[in-house]
Structures are given as C-alpha cells and as structure tokens.
Amino acid sequence: MSFIIPFFIFALALPLYAQSDKPVELVLYSSRNSDLLQPVLKAYQKETGVVVRHIEGSAGSLVQKLVREGDKSPADLLITVDVGHLIHGAQSGLLEPLAANEMTQRVPVHLRDDQWQWLGLSLRARTIFYNKKKVKPQELVSYQDLAHPKWKGRLCLRTSRKVYNQSLVAGLIGRLGQAETEKVVKGWVSNLARPVFTSDTHLLEAIDKGRCDVGIANTYYLARLQKKGEAQNVGIFWPTQDNGGTHVNISGVGILKTSKNKQQALRFVNWLVSDSAQKVFAEANDEYPVVPLVPLSKLIQSWGPYHMDTTPLSQIGEHQKQAVQLMDRARYR
C-alpha cells in the first residue's frame, strides 16, 4: 500500500498546475452544451484575440447564481437554450438593455425582447415526428390535434420537466387560453403510448422502432440520429402551418447589468449575429440561424421550408410559470 500516498499527493497537485494561463477578457454563463459552444468561442478568439471564459450550468441554477452573486458576479453575459430563463433573468433585473444597432437589428422582432434585454442566436423548432410506416402525414394537423382520441395509445412525449415542453405549453396558453390548453395537455396524457421519456433522442428512437406512432421533439435531435444513419423510419411534420405556425424557441443571449466589460460584451453579441458566426453557431447543433438568409446545412434543407409561429417569444415567458402548474394539474410528468 506504500504507493498509495505518493499517488494521492500527485493527484492532489495536478489540479493546481493545470490552471489555464490564458488571459480572460469575457466571462460567459451558459446553459448551452460546452461541445456546441467551444467552436464559436474559438472562432471568436481566432478572429479578435479575445478569450471568452465559459461557465456551464443549468439555466435555472445560473440565474439563481447571478441573483445571489449580485454586484460581485464575475459574469458579463448569459446564454440560455430557452427563452423562458432569459425572460426570468430580465424580470429578476439581471440584464442590461442592449444598444440597438445595425447588427442586433438583423434579428427578427419576434425573436428578441422589445426592451432589447435579450435576443435570439439560433432557432430551435419543436415539431411533430411520426413513424412513416404507421402514419400518413395527411393524418397530422396540429399540436392540439394530438389530444384527439384517435391518437390513444400512439403518442409519445418527453417529460414536462424539460423546459422545451414548458415553453411549448406556454405558447399554447398564449394562443388558446389556459382552459383550452389544459384540455389539450390532459388529452395528450390520456393518449400516451408509454410513460414520458427523459430525452428527445429516446423518443425519436422509439418512433423509429414503431413503439410510438407520433411524438413531439426538437429538430436537431433528428439531425443527430440521421447523421449516424439512424431514424430512417422517422418523418418530420410541420404543424399548424395555416394557423399560427410551428412552435420555435431560441438559444439566446443577454448582457448582464453587473458586467465590467459591457462594450466588449456588446462587440461579442454583435459578432454572434454576423453571417459567419451564425453559421458556426447554428451548424454546431443543426439548429436554424436567427438571421434570415444565412445558408442552411444540406440536412436541414432536406426537411423543407416551414412557417414558424411569429408570436413574440416574450409572451411565452409570461406564461411559463402557468405552464408548469398546468402540466402538474394535468398529471403530465
């Protein structure tokens, strides 16, 4: 056992010398996966020489962290993968209104805050998927229609804990009202083929294997599977095309009031909505760029065009808490 003590001393010393010696100029709190963000940060550093330090965590915990840190926060920017937490950050007084300029105005109005406290960086479409062998696309209409008894024992959903579903239901509350949305969600729950899934990937795999006929998921999960040659039986359907459009969410950014480098942070945000950055940011995860006319990847193009819901995303944030409570009442777990 004599080797154990030197082994542990060695292990103890390792983290001390392994610290980064690069100068940090911007600190970014982000709930976006590190693998997806690193290519963007590297590209920015290569282009401008500015090092962006990335602190990863769940959006909820990062917002709580910022509230607790107050003026002492080292962070300059907040990036989330859902609009709800950005709105919560804005409501908590954490975000500084951006200076509207030529670059930030490239982001469509419904994908940014009307007070300019946050704006979208990439689009995440949450749409309907179906098993090509069991369902004809003509049978599908809208999110609400999945509550119809004809889908009993055929629908699969991801857990209501996931913020993407909370935002989808918040969007429905905005469009249909609370009572109607509650009926829809209860219908979904009664139509479930299986208990809710913990991931969109599993949901799509289950549809592919014919264990569910239809389900709701974000499009980039299908892209991940298709790149591996999987999910060949899964078809994509864009719902509510004549009446409101497909639900979209954003991965977005806000500058923090406590930032000590606001000018530098704004330069970074401006760069993020440039054509070159938009391509890197969206393609890293096969999402849609927020800036129109930025070219899409071939895979995304193969899914065809769609009309997105252009209801301002800020309205979704207003209904987020109601959505969580509604899903609890409907026993959507």
């Binding site: 983290p15 990863e56 709580q64 804990r161």
Partner: protein, 504 residues
C-alpha cells in the same frame, strides 16, 4: 466547559438549518398539491422499500458470509462491496440504456422503467445494499460459537435462533447501516432524475428552478431537514439503549458451505454482484470502447484530476477535523456519541439545498467571487456533507481507546502533539484509513453540490455526467462514469483490504 463546547459545536452543525428557517417565508401555493403528495408518497415508499430490500438481502449475504467457509471467500466479500464504487445515477443510466425505451429488446412491454417506483427501488437497492452487508458482517463478529452450538443441540429452529440470539447482537450494526441507506435514499437526486420519478429532492429542484421560488424550495427543505433530525434523534435513542458488548473471546467458526441454504444464497449473491457491478461495468466499457480513439482526453483528464484532488483534500480535511473533535471531546470527558450523531445532519441535508446555503454565505463575504474562493466553498460544503462519514469510524475508534493511554500520558505530562503522534495515531491507523477512503468515494460520486458550486475551471466528473445524461448521451457519459468507477473500485479494494487486515 464541556457543555459550552458541545453547545458551540451543536450551533455550528445546525447553522444551515437555521439559515433555511430564516430564508423560508413564502408559501408554496404555486405548487400543485397532487404533485406534493405524490412526491412525498414516492419518497416514503421508495425509502421504506429500499430499506426492506437492502436489509433482507444485506443481512442474508452477511450471514452466509460469516457462517460458512468456502474457496474464494475473501474475493467474494470484496466483490459484494464493489457496487459502492458505482454512483446510483450511473446504475440508473446504465439500466435505462439497457432496458429503456430505445433498447434493442423492448422490455417496455413488461417493465415500465420511466417514472417507476419499482425501478428506482431496484436501482437504489443495488447501489446501497453493501452498506447493510458491511455493517452486518461486523455485527456477526460478536456472535459466539458456544451459543450457536447450544441452539443446535436444542434444535430450536433458525427463526428462533435468529430472533433471540443473532438479532440482539447485530441489531445495532444493522440499524447503523439502515440509517446510512435511508440518508442516501432521501438525498438521491441523480437516479430519481434519470428515472423521472417525482421525489422530494426533485420537487425542491422544480420549485426552485421551474417555479423560480428559492424561498419555497427552502421551506420544503426546512421541513425535510426536520424529518432528518427526527431520524437522527431516533438513531441516538437506539444507540443509547445499546448495551456495551465485551470482547468476543469465542468467535464463530465458519462451517464448510454445503447446505442448500448456502448454495441458494451464494447464487443470489453472485446474481447481485452481476446486476450491481459486473453488468454495469461491462455496459460502460461497451459504450466507452468505441469512443477511446475519438475522445478528447483533456476533457476527461481535467475533471478526473479535479475530482480526485477534491476527494483527497476533503478526505484529509474530514480526517483532520474528526481527530480534532475526538481529541477535544475526549479531553472534555464527553461520552462522544452525540457529537457523531449531530454531525450527521449535513449528511442528511440534500446536496442541492446545502449548496445554496453555502453559496448564500459566501456572497456575504467582502471579497470577489473568484475560482479559489468557490473551490474553498465547494470544499466546505463537501466537508460539512460528509463529515459524519469519516467521523463515525474515527469516533468509534476514539471511544474504544484504552483509558490507560490517557492516564499514562497524564502521568508523564506529555504534550498534546506527542499524545496524538505516539498514542492516538498508531491505535487509530485503521480507522483513519477507512474514514479517508469512505469520504473519498462519496466525494467522487457526489453530484448536486458540485453542480452548483464547482467553478468552470474545475469541472468534476459528476457534473460532466449530469450534463451528458440530461440529453441521454449515454455513450459520451460512459467515459467519465468509467473513470469514477475505476477510482471507486481502487478505493473499495483498499477499504476491503484494510478491513480484512483487521487493523480497523
């Protein structure tokens, strides 16, 4: 003086609960009452079922281990302890990948794993059974051979023998194991998240992060912590009722294992080892192997260094504090058992809430929140959480120190350092190693505190696994899971070797 010191210690230990009481003010009306009751009933059901399963199988395995002799006994003992090396959330994601909705075989038609109480009980029982087994094997050391022979002559039957002869000897140890299992089950967040079953810890998370009510979360946590205090009080009461046992000069002589009972339980034990350790390890390796050449190893080595370094630092701190407490209370002539019991408060508080308490305290300091400060905060949170893990073996060792040692040192007027260096350390060596290794294993597996407090420059393996499993990326998560498992296996092996050496 002794009472004054105990009071200060008690205040320090209970201060996070006081903090929770101060910050919890808002009611949780926003929360659906059905979900509240569902979370509470799930927590209660899962806790009781896990205790029942782990006790039945843990005590049975320990019985067959202690009463029978067979080839490879030592190795089977180590293998039975090995599931301690795997965090419950790793077991959960391995089984979800194996039997879940996307598995090759559609087990879903027979077993609904998602949101299943039975599945969570299965996972947590696999993960926590070694606690009961370990404590029960120690308990069986107090059984006397002569009593066993008497019962055999009287032909009293196994049930009567167990009820009246064995149980009184092992009850104290089994209850100690059950308390650990209960705390682990109540604190579990990771496995319940993977299974998607609402329990109290996930409810706290939901109130805090989905309904944006920190004070509501603190309110639930406060009530939850009071339940923990009640459990600790019950444990303290039971321990105070325990009669002192004199040294066992007539230990059991294990029989050659040849009965049907022995073969049945050996088979079940191998099945347990397969399900709780061998299968998960093979599955993790199966997922990890194709990634070995694709993996950016810096992404794994860095968290591995941080996790091990943190584990060693916290382990050493826990050992140091435990010795200090033992020394101070011993010199105050305190009986000692209550300070061990109260230190368990931290172990019972869910990590998510403990992280908030620590964080809220840190931001009050008049210094900037740099990485070094956050590391210290993380270390402090982990030491508070796992102090009782180290304190129990060291406290038990201190309580058993011969009185002659103190009298001799007093007679010769030796300094406190000499007393520690030459009298205490040699006697407590085994206990110190056990305390250090147990703490190391727990720190490496810990998830919620690290998630909240670890600075980005110091990611841990557990936080990496959380981020990957949240998106069901089992294959990617298998690499950090493998590293945690390897560290855990080494630690459990050392622990078992230390115990086999009999120096503890």
């Amino acid at each position: 003086m002794g009472r004054f010191f105990s009071l200060i210690y008690l205040c320090l230990v209970l201060s996070p609960l006081l903090f929770l009481f101060l910050v919890s003010g808002e009611s949780v009306e926003a929360l659906d009452s059905l979900l509240m009751w569902e979370s509470m009933s799930n927590t209660l059901f899962v806790s009781l079922a896990v205790i029942a399963c782990t006790t039945f199988f843990g005590v049975s395995f320990a019985y067959s281990h202690s009463f029978f002799d067979f080839p490879g006994k030592k190795w089977l003992h180590i293998l039975t302890l090995m599931p301690l090396a795997l965090p419950a959330y790793v077991l959960a994601f391995v089984y979800m990948g194996l039997l879940g909705p996307a598995a090759h075989f559609d087990f879903y038609h027979w077993f609904e794993l998602q949101a299943s109480r039975g599945f969570l009980v299965f996972i947590l029982s696999l993960a926590f059974l070694p606690y009961i087994y370990f404590f029960s094997t120690i308990g069986f050391l107090w059984v006397r051979q002569s009593e066993r022979e008497t019962e055999s002559v009287m032909q009293a039957g196994f049930v009567r023998y167990f009820r009246y002869s064995l149980w009184p000897k092992i009850a104290f140890f089994v209850v100690s194991g059950q308390v650990l299992v209960l705390f682990e089950t109540l604190s579990d967040f990771g496995a319940a998240s993977v299974v998607n079953l609402p329990v109290i810890t996930t409810l706290i998370y939901k109130v805090w992060f989905d309904l944006f009510s920190f004070t509501g979360a603190a309110r639930i946590s406060m009530w939850f912590s009071l339940v923990i205090l009640f459990i600790l009080g019950a444990e303290f009461y039971l321990k105070s009722k325990q009669q002192e046992q004199s040294d066992n000069l007539d230990p059991l002589r294990a029989q050659k294992g040849s009965s049907a009972f022995f073969f049945c339980w050996s088979g079940l034990r191998w099945l347990y080892i397969f399900a709780a350790f061998l299968l998960p390890i093979v599955q993790i390796l199966y997922w990890a192997m194709p990634r070995f050449w694709l993996q950016n190893w810096y992404d794994v080595l860095r968290p591995a260094q941080v996790t091990l370094g943190l584990g060693v630092l916290v382990g050493l701190s826990v050992v140091f504090i435990s010795i200090l407490l033992g020394f101070l209370f011993k010199s105050q002539k305190s009986t000692g058992s209550h300070w061990i019991v109260f230190s368990s408060v931290g172990y019972g508080i869910p990590g998510t809430i403990l992280a908030v308490v620590v964080y809220a305290a840190v931001v009050q300091l008049p210094v900037s929140l740099n990485a070094a400060l956050m590391l210290v905060a993380l270390g402090a949170g982990l030491v508070y959480k796992f102090l009782s893990i180290g304190l129990r073996p060291i406290g038990e060792g201190v309580a058993q120190l011969p009185k002659a040692l103190d009298e001799t040192s007093l007679l010769f007027g030796v300094s406190w350092w000499t007393k520690l260096r030459y009298y205490w350390f040699p006697y407590l060596r085994g206990n110190l190693i056990v305390a250090f290794l147990l703490t190391l294993i727990e720190v490496m597996k810990e998830m919620p505190i690290s998630l909240m407090l670890a600075p980005s420059e110091y990611p841990t393996l557990a936080t990496q696994i959380y981020n990957l499993t949240a998106e069901a990326q089992w294959e990617k998560a298998s690499i950090p899971a493998l590293v945690i498992s390897l560290f855990g296996i080494l630690s459990v092996w050392l622990l078992a070797a230390e115990k086999n050496g009999g120096s503890a």
